[in-house]
Protein backbone atom coordinates (compact mmCIF):
# COMPACT_ATOMS: atom_id res chain seq x y z
CA UNK A 1 0.00 0.00 0.00
CA UNK A 2 1.37 3.38 -0.97
CA UNK A 3 1.67 5.78 1.92
CA UNK A 4 1.20 9.50 1.48
CA UNK A 5 2.30 12.31 3.74
CA UNK A 6 0.32 15.51 4.26
CA UNK A 7 2.18 17.36 1.51
CA UNK A 8 1.47 14.53 -0.93
CA UNK A 9 -2.21 14.75 -0.03
CA UNK A 10 -2.24 18.48 -0.61
CA UNK A 11 -0.67 18.07 -4.05
CA UNK A 12 -3.11 15.27 -4.90
CA UNK A 13 -6.06 17.44 -3.84
CA UNK A 14 -4.79 20.26 -6.00
CA UNK A 15 -4.36 17.93 -8.98
CA UNK A 16 -7.90 16.71 -8.48
CA UNK A 17 -9.13 20.29 -8.53
CA UNK A 18 -7.60 21.13 -11.89
CA UNK A 19 -10.59 22.23 -13.97
CA UNK A 20 -12.25 20.60 -16.93
CA UNK A 21 -11.18 22.11 -20.21
CA UNK A 22 -13.80 22.46 -22.91
CA UNK A 23 -13.14 21.35 -26.43
CA UNK A 24 -14.37 24.27 -28.51
CA UNK A 25 -14.77 22.37 -31.76
CA UNK A 26 -18.18 20.88 -32.51
CA UNK A 27 -18.79 17.17 -32.61
CA UNK A 28 -19.95 17.29 -36.25
CA UNK A 29 -17.00 19.31 -37.37
CA UNK A 30 -14.64 16.85 -35.69
CA UNK A 31 -16.41 13.84 -37.17
CA UNK A 32 -16.23 15.30 -40.69
CA UNK A 33 -12.48 15.80 -40.44
CA UNK A 34 -11.96 12.34 -38.95
CA UNK A 35 -13.90 10.70 -41.77
CA UNK A 36 -12.17 12.76 -44.46
CA UNK A 37 -8.80 11.73 -43.08
CA UNK A 38 -9.75 8.06 -42.88
CA UNK A 39 -10.95 8.16 -46.49
CA UNK A 40 -7.95 10.07 -47.84
CA UNK A 41 -5.12 9.50 -45.37
CA UNK A 42 -2.43 11.04 -47.61
CA UNK A 43 -3.97 14.45 -47.29
CA UNK A 44 -4.38 15.00 -43.55
CA UNK A 45 -6.84 17.75 -42.83
CA UNK A 46 -6.50 19.74 -39.65
CA UNK A 47 -8.82 22.22 -38.09
CA UNK A 48 -7.94 25.69 -39.32
CA UNK A 49 -6.86 27.54 -36.22
CA UNK A 50 -7.71 31.20 -36.56
CA UNK A 51 -4.92 33.37 -35.22
CA UNK A 52 -7.23 35.77 -33.43
CA UNK A 53 -4.53 37.60 -31.54
CA UNK A 54 -2.59 38.93 -34.56
CA UNK A 55 -5.84 40.01 -36.23
CA UNK A 56 -6.92 41.89 -33.13
CA UNK A 57 -3.46 43.38 -32.76
CA UNK A 58 -3.49 44.61 -36.37
CA UNK A 59 -6.95 46.10 -35.92
CA UNK A 60 -5.90 47.77 -32.70
CA UNK A 61 -2.77 49.22 -34.33
CA UNK A 62 -4.93 50.61 -37.16
CA UNK A 63 -7.37 52.24 -34.71
CA UNK A 64 -4.55 53.73 -32.66
CA UNK A 65 -3.07 55.13 -35.86
CA UNK A 66 -6.38 56.79 -36.71
CA UNK A 67 -6.65 58.34 -33.27
CA UNK A 68 -3.06 59.61 -33.23
CA UNK A 69 -2.94 60.87 -36.81
CA UNK A 70 -4.36 64.39 -36.16
CA UNK A 71 -1.88 64.86 -33.34
CA UNK A 72 1.05 64.09 -35.60
CA UNK A 73 0.46 67.30 -37.52
CA UNK A 74 1.10 69.28 -34.33
CA UNK A 75 4.20 67.24 -33.52
CA UNK A 76 6.66 69.69 -35.01
CA UNK A 77 5.25 72.57 -33.00
CA UNK A 78 5.49 70.58 -29.80
CA UNK A 79 8.95 69.18 -30.42
CA UNK A 80 10.96 72.00 -28.79
CA UNK A 81 8.75 71.84 -25.74
CA UNK A 82 9.21 68.05 -25.50
CA UNK A 83 12.96 68.45 -25.80
CA UNK A 84 13.06 70.75 -22.80
CA UNK A 85 10.88 68.41 -20.77
CA UNK A 86 13.04 65.46 -21.72
CA UNK A 87 16.11 67.33 -20.51
CA UNK A 88 14.38 68.10 -17.23
CA UNK A 89 13.44 64.48 -16.78
CA UNK A 90 16.97 63.39 -17.57
CA UNK A 91 18.38 65.81 -14.98
CA UNK A 92 15.88 64.56 -12.45
CA UNK A 93 16.86 60.98 -13.19
CA UNK A 94 20.53 61.76 -12.80
CA UNK A 95 19.89 63.44 -9.50
CA UNK A 96 17.78 60.53 -8.38
CA UNK A 97 20.42 58.04 -9.47
CA UNK A 98 23.09 59.94 -7.60
CA UNK A 99 20.89 59.98 -4.50
CA UNK A 100 20.20 56.27 -4.88
CA UNK A 101 23.87 55.53 -5.28
CA UNK A 102 24.76 57.51 -2.21
CA UNK A 103 21.96 55.86 -0.22
CA UNK A 104 23.17 52.49 -1.43
CA UNK A 105 26.71 53.23 -0.31
CA UNK A 106 25.49 54.29 3.13
CA UNK A 107 23.36 51.18 3.36
CA UNK A 108 26.23 48.97 2.16
CA UNK A 109 28.56 50.57 4.66
CA UNK A 110 26.10 49.85 7.48
CA UNK A 111 25.64 46.27 6.31
CA UNK A 112 29.36 45.82 6.00
CA UNK A 113 29.91 46.89 9.60
CA UNK A 114 27.13 44.65 10.79
CA UNK A 115 28.40 41.57 8.94
CA UNK A 116 32.12 42.10 9.23
CA UNK A 117 32.90 39.57 11.94
CA UNK A 118 30.93 36.72 10.40
CA UNK A 119 32.24 37.51 6.92
CA UNK A 120 35.82 37.42 8.20
CA UNK A 121 35.24 34.06 9.87
CA UNK A 122 33.59 32.63 6.72
CA UNK A 123 36.32 33.99 4.50
CA UNK A 124 39.07 32.60 6.69
CA UNK A 125 37.34 29.22 6.86
CA UNK A 126 36.81 29.20 3.13
CA UNK A 127 40.40 30.11 2.30
CA UNK A 128 41.75 27.53 4.71
CA UNK A 129 39.58 24.79 3.22
CA UNK A 130 40.32 25.89 -0.34
CA UNK A 131 44.01 25.52 0.42
CA UNK A 132 43.31 22.06 1.73
CA UNK A 133 41.53 21.14 -1.47
CA UNK A 134 44.57 22.06 -3.51
CA UNK A 135 47.25 20.65 -1.23
CA UNK A 136 45.77 17.84 0.77
CA UNK A 137 44.97 15.34 -1.94
CA UNK A 138 47.65 13.29 -3.59
CA UNK A 139 45.57 11.48 -6.21
CA UNK A 140 45.70 12.68 -9.76
CA UNK A 141 42.15 13.29 -10.93
CA UNK A 142 38.50 13.49 -9.92
CA UNK A 143 37.34 11.87 -13.13
CA UNK A 144 38.07 8.88 -15.32
CA UNK A 145 38.70 9.76 -18.95
CA UNK A 146 36.70 8.15 -21.76
CA UNK A 147 39.92 6.76 -23.16
CA UNK A 148 40.78 4.90 -19.96
CA UNK A 149 41.40 1.19 -20.22
CA UNK A 150 38.33 -0.97 -19.97
CA UNK A 151 38.84 -2.37 -16.50
CA UNK A 152 35.75 -3.41 -14.57
CA UNK A 153 34.14 -0.37 -13.00
CA UNK A 154 31.92 -0.64 -9.97
CA UNK A 155 29.86 2.36 -9.07
CA UNK A 156 29.20 3.21 -5.45
CA UNK A 157 27.63 6.16 -3.67
CA UNK A 158 27.35 7.50 -0.14
CA UNK A 159 25.35 10.29 1.44
CA UNK A 160 27.20 13.33 2.72
CA UNK A 161 27.38 13.59 6.50
CA UNK A 162 24.34 15.89 6.63
CA UNK A 163 22.24 13.65 4.35
CA UNK A 164 21.73 16.49 1.86
CA UNK A 165 23.47 14.98 -1.15
CA UNK A 166 24.53 11.63 -2.56
CA UNK A 167 28.14 11.43 -3.69
CA UNK A 168 29.02 8.97 -6.45
CA UNK A 169 32.37 7.21 -6.75
CA UNK A 170 33.85 4.70 -9.13
CA UNK A 171 35.91 1.72 -8.06
CA UNK A 172 38.45 0.67 -10.66
CA UNK A 173 39.50 -2.95 -10.25
CA UNK A 174 42.99 -2.59 -11.64
CA UNK A 175 44.01 -6.19 -12.13
CA UNK A 176 40.62 -7.76 -12.72
CA UNK A 177 39.53 -9.61 -15.81
CA UNK A 178 36.84 -8.25 -18.11
CA UNK A 179 33.62 -7.57 -16.26
CA UNK A 180 31.36 -10.60 -16.54
CA UNK A 181 27.98 -10.64 -14.82
CA UNK A 182 29.38 -12.89 -12.13
CA UNK A 183 32.45 -10.75 -11.53
CA UNK A 184 30.35 -7.57 -11.35
CA UNK A 185 27.84 -9.26 -9.07
CA UNK A 186 30.64 -10.28 -6.77
CA UNK A 187 32.16 -6.76 -6.74
CA UNK A 188 28.78 -5.17 -6.01
CA UNK A 189 28.04 -7.58 -3.19
CA UNK A 190 31.39 -6.71 -1.64
CA UNK A 191 30.94 -2.98 -2.20
CA UNK A 192 30.48 -2.10 1.44
CA UNK A 193 33.96 -3.45 2.19
CA UNK A 194 35.65 -0.85 -0.03
CA UNK A 195 33.56 2.09 1.18
CA UNK A 196 35.12 4.03 4.03
CA UNK A 197 32.53 6.68 4.91
CA UNK A 198 34.19 7.59 8.21
CA UNK A 199 37.48 8.41 6.52
CA UNK A 200 35.72 10.43 3.83
CA UNK A 201 33.43 12.33 6.20
CA UNK A 202 30.29 10.76 4.78
CA UNK A 203 27.17 9.07 6.12
CA UNK A 204 26.58 5.31 6.31
CA UNK A 205 25.96 3.27 3.16
CA UNK A 206 22.15 3.11 2.87
CA UNK A 207 22.07 -0.19 0.93
CA UNK A 208 22.39 -2.85 3.58
CA UNK A 209 21.38 -6.50 3.81
CA UNK A 210 20.75 -6.83 0.08
CA UNK A 211 22.28 -9.41 -2.23
CA UNK A 212 22.46 -8.35 -5.86
CA UNK A 213 22.49 -10.48 -8.99
CA UNK A 214 23.39 -8.46 -12.08
CA UNK A 215 22.04 -9.42 -15.50
CA UNK A 216 23.68 -7.11 -18.06
CA UNK A 217 21.95 -8.84 -20.98
CA UNK A 218 18.51 -7.93 -19.63
CA UNK A 219 19.73 -4.66 -18.08
CA UNK A 220 18.31 -5.77 -14.76
CA UNK A 221 19.47 -6.41 -11.25
CA UNK A 222 17.75 -8.80 -8.88
CA UNK A 223 17.92 -7.56 -5.29
CA UNK A 224 17.25 -10.22 -2.69
CA UNK A 225 16.36 -9.03 0.79
CA UNK A 226 15.46 -10.63 4.10
CA UNK A 227 11.77 -11.26 4.79
CA UNK A 228 11.78 -8.55 7.44
CA UNK A 229 13.73 -6.07 5.28
CA UNK A 230 13.00 -2.41 5.94
CA UNK A 231 14.60 0.84 4.82
CA UNK A 232 13.32 2.48 7.99
CA UNK A 233 10.90 5.31 8.43
CA UNK A 234 10.92 8.68 6.78
CA UNK A 235 11.12 9.95 3.26
CA UNK A 236 14.77 11.06 3.70
CA UNK A 237 15.90 7.44 4.10
CA UNK A 238 13.81 6.39 1.11
CA UNK A 239 15.35 9.23 -0.90
CA UNK A 240 18.90 8.15 -0.03
CA UNK A 241 18.07 4.51 -0.74
CA UNK A 242 16.61 5.30 -4.15
CA UNK A 243 19.32 7.78 -5.21
CA UNK A 244 22.10 5.44 -4.13
CA UNK A 245 20.62 2.54 -6.12
CA UNK A 246 20.31 4.85 -9.13
CA UNK A 247 23.93 5.97 -8.87
CA UNK A 248 25.18 2.41 -8.40
CA UNK A 249 23.45 0.89 -11.39
CA UNK A 250 22.60 3.67 -13.87
CA UNK A 251 26.17 3.91 -15.26
CA UNK A 252 26.06 0.18 -16.08
CA UNK A 253 22.97 0.74 -18.24
CA UNK A 254 20.75 -1.14 -15.78
CA UNK A 255 17.13 -0.14 -16.28
CA UNK A 256 15.46 -1.63 -13.25
CA UNK A 257 16.00 -3.39 -9.96
CA UNK A 258 13.71 -6.36 -9.29
CA UNK A 259 13.10 -7.14 -5.63
CA UNK A 260 12.38 -10.46 -3.96
CA UNK A 261 12.70 -11.83 -0.47
CA UNK A 262 14.81 -14.83 0.58
CA UNK A 263 11.66 -16.86 1.05
CA UNK A 264 10.61 -16.14 -2.53
CA UNK A 265 8.05 -13.37 -2.06
CA UNK A 266 8.21 -11.12 -5.13
CA UNK A 267 7.19 -7.85 -3.56
CA UNK A 268 8.71 -5.84 -0.73
CA UNK A 269 7.37 -2.99 1.37
CA UNK A 270 9.51 0.01 0.53
CA UNK A 271 8.49 2.91 2.74
CA UNK A 272 6.81 5.71 0.78
CA UNK A 273 6.93 3.72 -2.47
CA UNK A 274 4.52 1.19 -1.03
CA UNK A 275 4.64 -2.52 -1.85
CA UNK A 276 6.65 -2.92 -5.04
CA UNK A 277 8.36 -5.70 -6.94
CA UNK A 278 10.71 -3.54 -9.00
CA UNK A 279 12.17 -0.06 -9.12
CA UNK A 280 13.00 1.55 -12.46
CA UNK A 281 16.36 3.29 -12.52
CA UNK A 282 15.68 6.99 -12.91
CA UNK A 283 17.05 8.92 -15.89
CA UNK A 284 19.93 11.20 -15.05
CA UNK A 285 18.85 14.78 -14.51
CA UNK A 286 20.97 17.90 -14.65
CA UNK A 287 23.51 18.63 -11.93
CA UNK A 288 26.36 21.04 -11.35
CA UNK A 289 29.53 19.80 -9.69
CA UNK A 290 31.21 21.26 -6.63
CA UNK A 291 33.75 19.99 -4.11
CA UNK A 292 32.86 18.05 -0.98
CA UNK A 293 35.57 18.18 1.65
CA UNK A 294 34.57 17.89 5.32
CA UNK A 295 37.03 19.04 7.91
CA UNK A 296 38.49 15.71 9.01
CA UNK A 297 38.14 13.81 5.76
CA UNK A 298 41.18 12.19 4.19
CA UNK A 299 40.29 13.27 0.68
CA UNK A 300 37.86 15.40 -1.30
CA UNK A 301 35.26 14.40 -3.86
CA UNK A 302 33.42 16.02 -6.73
CA UNK A 303 29.80 16.30 -5.67
CA UNK A 304 26.78 16.59 -7.98
CA UNK A 305 24.31 19.23 -6.85
CA UNK A 306 21.01 18.36 -8.60
CA UNK A 307 19.38 21.16 -10.57
CA UNK A 308 16.02 21.76 -12.12
CA UNK A 309 15.86 20.69 -15.77
CA UNK A 310 15.04 24.23 -16.86
CA UNK A 311 18.40 25.62 -15.76
CA UNK A 312 20.76 26.78 -18.52
CA UNK A 313 24.51 26.22 -18.53
CA UNK A 314 25.36 29.88 -17.86
CA UNK A 315 23.31 29.83 -14.66
CA UNK A 316 24.89 26.49 -13.80
CA UNK A 317 28.40 27.96 -14.13
CA UNK A 318 27.53 30.90 -11.88
CA UNK A 319 26.18 28.50 -9.22
CA UNK A 320 29.45 26.55 -9.31
CA UNK A 321 31.16 29.60 -7.82
CA UNK A 322 29.04 29.46 -4.65
CA UNK A 323 30.19 27.81 -1.42
CA UNK A 324 27.80 25.98 0.90
CA UNK A 325 29.97 26.14 3.99
CA UNK A 326 27.32 24.68 6.27
CA UNK A 327 27.35 21.49 4.19
CA UNK A 328 31.15 21.38 3.63
CA UNK A 329 30.49 21.96 -0.06
CA UNK A 330 32.89 24.31 -1.84
CA UNK A 331 32.87 26.22 -5.10
CA UNK A 332 34.61 24.45 -7.95
CA UNK A 333 35.15 27.65 -9.95
CA UNK A 334 37.19 30.32 -8.15
CA UNK A 335 35.25 33.49 -7.45
CA UNK A 336 37.59 35.67 -9.51
CA UNK A 337 37.58 33.45 -12.59
CA UNK A 338 34.98 34.48 -15.16
CA UNK A 339 33.82 32.18 -17.92
CA UNK A 340 31.28 32.67 -20.67
CA UNK A 341 29.54 29.74 -22.33
CA UNK A 342 28.29 29.14 -25.84
CA UNK A 343 27.02 26.00 -27.50
CA UNK A 344 27.84 24.37 -30.81
CA UNK A 345 25.68 21.26 -31.21
CA UNK A 346 26.98 18.87 -28.55
CA UNK A 347 30.05 20.93 -27.71
CA UNK A 348 30.16 23.38 -24.83
CA UNK A 349 32.53 26.25 -25.58
CA UNK A 350 33.93 27.99 -22.52
CA UNK A 351 35.72 31.30 -23.03
CA UNK A 352 37.90 32.50 -20.19
CA UNK A 353 37.29 36.21 -19.59
CA UNK A 354 40.00 36.44 -16.93
CA UNK A 355 42.95 34.35 -18.22
CA UNK A 356 45.32 36.20 -15.87
CA UNK A 357 43.61 34.38 -12.98
CA UNK A 358 44.40 30.92 -14.35
CA UNK A 359 47.49 28.86 -13.80
CA UNK A 360 48.18 25.26 -14.63
CA UNK A 361 47.59 24.19 -11.05
CA UNK A 362 45.31 21.96 -9.05
CA UNK A 363 42.57 24.59 -8.60
CA UNK A 364 42.28 25.01 -12.34
CA UNK A 365 42.25 21.25 -12.86
CA UNK A 366 39.44 20.95 -10.32
CA UNK A 367 37.54 23.65 -12.20
CA UNK A 368 38.01 21.91 -15.55
CA UNK A 369 36.99 18.50 -14.18
CA UNK A 370 33.92 19.95 -12.44
CA UNK A 371 33.03 21.72 -15.70
CA UNK A 372 33.49 18.50 -17.69
CA UNK A 373 31.15 16.59 -15.37
CA UNK A 374 28.62 19.44 -15.41
CA UNK A 375 28.79 19.56 -19.22
CA UNK A 376 28.17 15.80 -19.32
CA UNK A 377 25.05 16.14 -17.17
CA UNK A 378 23.79 18.97 -19.38
CA UNK A 379 24.02 16.60 -22.37
CA UNK A 380 27.25 17.81 -23.98
CA UNK A 381 29.82 15.36 -25.33
CA UNK A 382 32.83 17.69 -25.48
CA UNK A 383 34.13 20.90 -23.95
CA UNK A 384 36.34 23.48 -25.65
CA UNK A 385 38.27 25.93 -23.46
CA UNK A 386 39.16 29.15 -25.27
CA UNK A 387 41.40 32.01 -24.22
CA UNK A 388 42.81 30.27 -21.14
CA UNK A 389 46.33 31.45 -21.98
CA UNK A 390 47.46 27.88 -21.25
CA UNK A 391 48.22 24.89 -23.44
CA UNK A 392 47.48 22.29 -20.83
CA UNK A 393 45.72 22.08 -17.51
CA UNK A 394 46.70 19.02 -15.50
CA UNK A 395 46.33 16.06 -17.85
CA UNK A 396 44.15 18.03 -20.32
CA UNK A 397 45.38 19.49 -23.60
CA UNK A 398 43.25 22.64 -23.78
CA UNK A 399 44.24 23.38 -27.36
CA UNK A 400 41.94 20.48 -28.33
CA UNK A 401 38.31 19.77 -27.49
CA UNK A 402 38.04 17.57 -24.42
CA UNK A 403 35.64 14.63 -24.22
CA UNK A 404 33.40 14.54 -21.14
CA UNK A 405 34.57 11.90 -18.63
CA UNK A 406 33.55 8.27 -18.43
CA UNK A 407 33.16 8.27 -14.65
CA UNK A 408 33.57 10.35 -11.52
CA UNK A 409 35.70 10.12 -8.36
CA UNK A 410 37.77 7.06 -9.39
CA UNK A 411 39.26 4.96 -6.61
CA UNK A 412 41.65 2.25 -7.65
CA UNK A 413 41.28 -1.11 -5.93
CA UNK A 414 44.39 -3.27 -6.10
CA UNK A 415 43.51 -6.93 -5.99
Amino acid sequence: MTSYDDKDKKIIDMLKSLPSIDDEQSKDELYQRVIQNIESPRNIKRKKHVMLFPILATAAAFLIGLILLPGLFNEEANEANHFEKANDIQHDDEGKSADDQSNKEIHDAESDTFDTDQAAIDEHDQEERAEKVTEGDTFSSYVLKQSSESQPLVYGALPDQYAQYVIPMTFVYANAEIATDNALTSFYNELEKVLTPNEWGMGAFPIKDITFQIDMKENRVIAEVADDFSIGDGSARAYMFEKTLNMMFRPLGIQQVDFKTVSGKETIELGPFGEIDEMPIEEKGKAIYKMYYPDKATRSFLLPVPQDETIDITTGISLMKENELANDVFASIPEDVNLTASVDENVLILSVVTPEKLENDRDTQVMIEAMLMTAKDFGFTHVVVKNSGLESIGPYDVTEKIAVPKAINPIEIAQ
Binding site: Y4, P19, D23, I38, K47, E283, D308, E345, G379
Partner: protein, 181 residues
Protein backbone atom coordinates in the same frame (compact mmCIF):
# COMPACT_ATOMS: atom_id res chain seq x y z
CA UNK B 1 -18.72 4.14 -38.21
CA UNK B 2 -20.82 7.18 -37.27
CA UNK B 3 -22.54 5.15 -34.57
CA UNK B 4 -19.23 4.04 -33.05
CA UNK B 5 -17.91 7.61 -33.20
CA UNK B 6 -21.09 8.89 -31.49
CA UNK B 7 -20.87 6.28 -28.74
CA UNK B 8 -17.25 6.98 -27.97
CA UNK B 9 -17.72 10.73 -28.24
CA UNK B 10 -20.67 10.77 -25.84
CA UNK B 11 -18.97 8.50 -23.31
CA UNK B 12 -15.31 9.47 -23.39
CA UNK B 13 -14.71 12.65 -25.35
CA UNK B 14 -14.70 15.01 -22.40
CA UNK B 15 -12.17 12.96 -20.40
CA UNK B 16 -10.07 12.22 -23.46
CA UNK B 17 -9.78 15.89 -24.40
CA UNK B 18 -8.97 16.81 -20.82
CA UNK B 19 -6.18 14.22 -20.65
CA UNK B 20 -4.65 15.31 -23.95
CA UNK B 21 -4.95 18.99 -23.08
CA UNK B 22 -3.13 18.62 -19.76
CA UNK B 23 -0.42 16.57 -21.46
CA UNK B 24 0.28 19.17 -24.17
CA UNK B 25 -1.21 22.26 -22.48
CA UNK B 26 -2.33 23.80 -25.72
CA UNK B 27 -5.92 23.73 -26.98
CA UNK B 28 -5.10 23.77 -30.69
CA UNK B 29 -2.60 20.93 -30.37
CA UNK B 30 -5.12 19.02 -28.26
CA UNK B 31 -7.75 19.45 -31.01
CA UNK B 32 -5.36 18.08 -33.63
CA UNK B 33 -4.30 15.19 -31.42
CA UNK B 34 -7.81 14.17 -30.46
CA UNK B 35 -8.68 14.06 -34.14
CA UNK B 36 -5.78 11.62 -34.64
CA UNK B 37 -6.97 9.58 -31.66
CA UNK B 38 -10.43 9.15 -33.21
CA UNK B 39 -8.87 8.14 -36.52
CA UNK B 40 -6.81 5.47 -34.74
CA UNK B 41 -9.81 4.29 -32.73
CA UNK B 42 -12.09 3.95 -35.74
CA UNK B 43 -9.39 2.29 -37.83
CA UNK B 44 -8.36 -0.25 -35.24
CA UNK B 45 -11.57 -0.87 -33.32
CA UNK B 46 -11.84 -4.30 -34.99
CA UNK B 47 -8.59 -5.30 -33.24
CA UNK B 48 -9.91 -4.39 -29.80
CA UNK B 49 -10.18 -7.73 -28.07
CA UNK B 50 -11.81 -6.57 -24.86
CA UNK B 51 -8.87 -7.73 -22.71
CA UNK B 52 -8.86 -4.37 -21.00
CA UNK B 53 -11.78 -1.99 -20.60
CA UNK B 54 -12.67 0.14 -23.63
CA UNK B 55 -11.77 3.27 -21.66
CA UNK B 56 -8.31 1.90 -20.88
CA UNK B 57 -7.79 0.97 -24.52
CA UNK B 58 -8.86 4.43 -25.72
CA UNK B 59 -6.61 6.19 -23.21
CA UNK B 60 -3.67 4.06 -24.25
CA UNK B 61 -4.22 5.26 -27.83
CA UNK B 62 -4.40 8.86 -26.61
CA UNK B 63 -1.21 8.38 -24.69
CA UNK B 64 0.56 6.98 -27.80
CA UNK B 65 -0.56 9.96 -29.85
CA UNK B 66 0.84 12.39 -27.31
CA UNK B 67 4.13 10.43 -27.23
CA UNK B 68 4.34 10.73 -31.01
CA UNK B 69 3.61 14.43 -30.75
CA UNK B 70 6.36 15.01 -28.19
CA UNK B 71 8.83 12.96 -30.20
CA UNK B 72 8.16 14.82 -33.42
CA UNK B 73 8.33 18.06 -31.48
CA UNK B 74 11.67 17.03 -30.02
CA UNK B 75 13.01 16.25 -33.47
CA UNK B 76 12.26 19.83 -34.43
CA UNK B 77 14.25 21.15 -31.50
CA UNK B 78 17.94 21.76 -31.45
CA UNK B 79 19.98 19.15 -29.59
CA UNK B 80 17.33 16.53 -30.15
CA UNK B 81 19.99 13.86 -30.02
CA UNK B 82 20.68 14.82 -26.44
CA UNK B 83 17.20 14.01 -25.26
CA UNK B 84 17.49 10.33 -24.54
CA UNK B 85 13.94 9.21 -24.19
CA UNK B 86 10.46 9.61 -22.98
CA UNK B 87 11.57 9.94 -19.39
CA UNK B 88 13.45 13.13 -20.20
CA UNK B 89 11.91 16.19 -18.66
CA UNK B 90 9.97 18.56 -20.83
CA UNK B 91 12.28 21.55 -20.79
CA UNK B 92 11.51 22.07 -24.47
CA UNK B 93 7.78 22.48 -24.06
CA UNK B 94 7.65 24.87 -21.19
CA UNK B 95 4.60 27.12 -21.00
CA UNK B 96 5.08 29.93 -23.42
CA UNK B 97 1.46 30.19 -24.52
CA UNK B 98 -1.21 32.16 -22.73
CA UNK B 99 -3.08 30.24 -20.06
CA UNK B 100 -6.55 29.06 -21.04
CA UNK B 101 -9.39 30.91 -19.38
CA UNK B 102 -10.28 27.87 -17.26
CA UNK B 103 -6.83 28.09 -15.65
CA UNK B 104 -6.51 31.88 -15.28
CA UNK B 105 -9.44 32.00 -12.85
CA UNK B 106 -7.83 29.52 -10.44
CA UNK B 107 -6.04 30.43 -7.25
CA UNK B 108 -2.29 31.07 -7.39
CA UNK B 109 -1.30 27.73 -5.84
CA UNK B 110 -3.15 25.74 -8.46
CA UNK B 111 -1.81 27.93 -11.25
CA UNK B 112 1.70 27.21 -9.96
CA UNK B 113 0.97 23.51 -9.85
CA UNK B 114 -0.29 23.68 -13.44
CA UNK B 115 2.94 25.36 -14.46
CA UNK B 116 5.10 22.92 -12.48
CA UNK B 117 3.61 19.96 -14.32
CA UNK B 118 6.13 20.78 -17.06
CA UNK B 119 8.95 19.98 -14.66
CA UNK B 120 7.77 16.38 -14.58
CA UNK B 121 8.77 13.93 -17.28
CA UNK B 122 5.96 12.98 -19.69
CA UNK B 123 5.80 9.58 -17.96
CA UNK B 124 5.41 11.24 -14.57
CA UNK B 125 2.81 13.62 -15.93
CA UNK B 126 0.84 10.77 -17.52
CA UNK B 127 0.76 8.91 -14.22
CA UNK B 128 -0.38 11.99 -12.27
CA UNK B 129 -3.15 12.79 -14.75
CA UNK B 130 -4.40 9.24 -15.03
CA UNK B 131 -4.30 8.59 -11.30
CA UNK B 132 -5.58 11.86 -9.88
CA UNK B 133 -7.59 13.59 -12.57
CA UNK B 134 -9.08 10.52 -14.21
CA UNK B 135 -9.18 8.30 -11.13
CA UNK B 136 -7.67 5.26 -12.79
CA UNK B 137 -6.39 2.60 -10.39
CA UNK B 138 -2.69 1.67 -10.28
CA UNK B 139 -3.49 -1.44 -12.32
CA UNK B 140 -5.49 0.46 -14.95
CA UNK B 141 -2.78 3.11 -15.19
CA UNK B 142 -0.21 0.35 -15.66
CA UNK B 143 -2.30 -1.11 -18.50
CA UNK B 144 -2.67 2.23 -20.25
CA UNK B 145 1.03 3.04 -20.02
CA UNK B 146 2.20 -0.53 -20.55
CA UNK B 147 4.09 -0.27 -17.23
CA UNK B 148 4.34 -2.70 -14.35
CA UNK B 149 2.36 -1.66 -11.28
CA UNK B 150 5.66 -1.10 -9.44
CA UNK B 151 6.78 1.26 -12.16
CA UNK B 152 3.53 3.21 -11.80
CA UNK B 153 4.09 3.46 -8.04
CA UNK B 154 7.69 4.64 -8.30
CA UNK B 155 6.88 7.06 -11.13
CA UNK B 156 3.98 8.41 -9.09
CA UNK B 157 6.18 8.85 -6.02
CA UNK B 158 8.86 10.64 -8.03
CA UNK B 159 6.31 12.90 -9.72
CA UNK B 160 4.74 13.93 -6.42
CA UNK B 161 8.22 14.61 -5.07
CA UNK B 162 9.01 16.93 -8.00
CA UNK B 163 5.82 18.93 -7.41
CA UNK B 164 6.25 18.95 -3.63
CA UNK B 165 9.81 20.24 -3.90
CA UNK B 166 8.85 23.01 -6.32
CA UNK B 167 5.84 24.07 -4.27
CA UNK B 168 7.95 24.13 -1.08
CA UNK B 169 10.69 26.18 -2.76
CA UNK B 170 8.10 28.66 -3.97
CA UNK B 171 6.60 28.86 -0.50
CA UNK B 172 10.04 29.44 1.04
CA UNK B 173 10.68 32.16 -1.54
CA UNK B 174 7.40 33.88 -0.63
CA UNK B 175 8.26 33.72 3.07
CA UNK B 176 11.71 35.20 2.41
CA UNK B 177 10.07 38.03 0.46
CA UNK B 178 7.76 38.75 3.38
CA UNK B 179 10.69 38.75 5.82
CA UNK B 180 12.69 41.10 3.57
CA UNK B 181 9.75 43.48 3.43
Amino acid sequence: MKELFDDIYETYHHDLYRFIFYMVKDKETAEDLIQDVYIKILQSYHSYKGKSSLKTWIFSIARHQTIDYFRSNQRKQKHVAQLPDWNERQQHIQDTKPLPEEITVLNEDIKRLYSYLDHCTPNQKSVLLLRYIHDFSIKETANILNFSTSKVKTTQHRALKVLKTLMSEEQRGDEDDIIRR
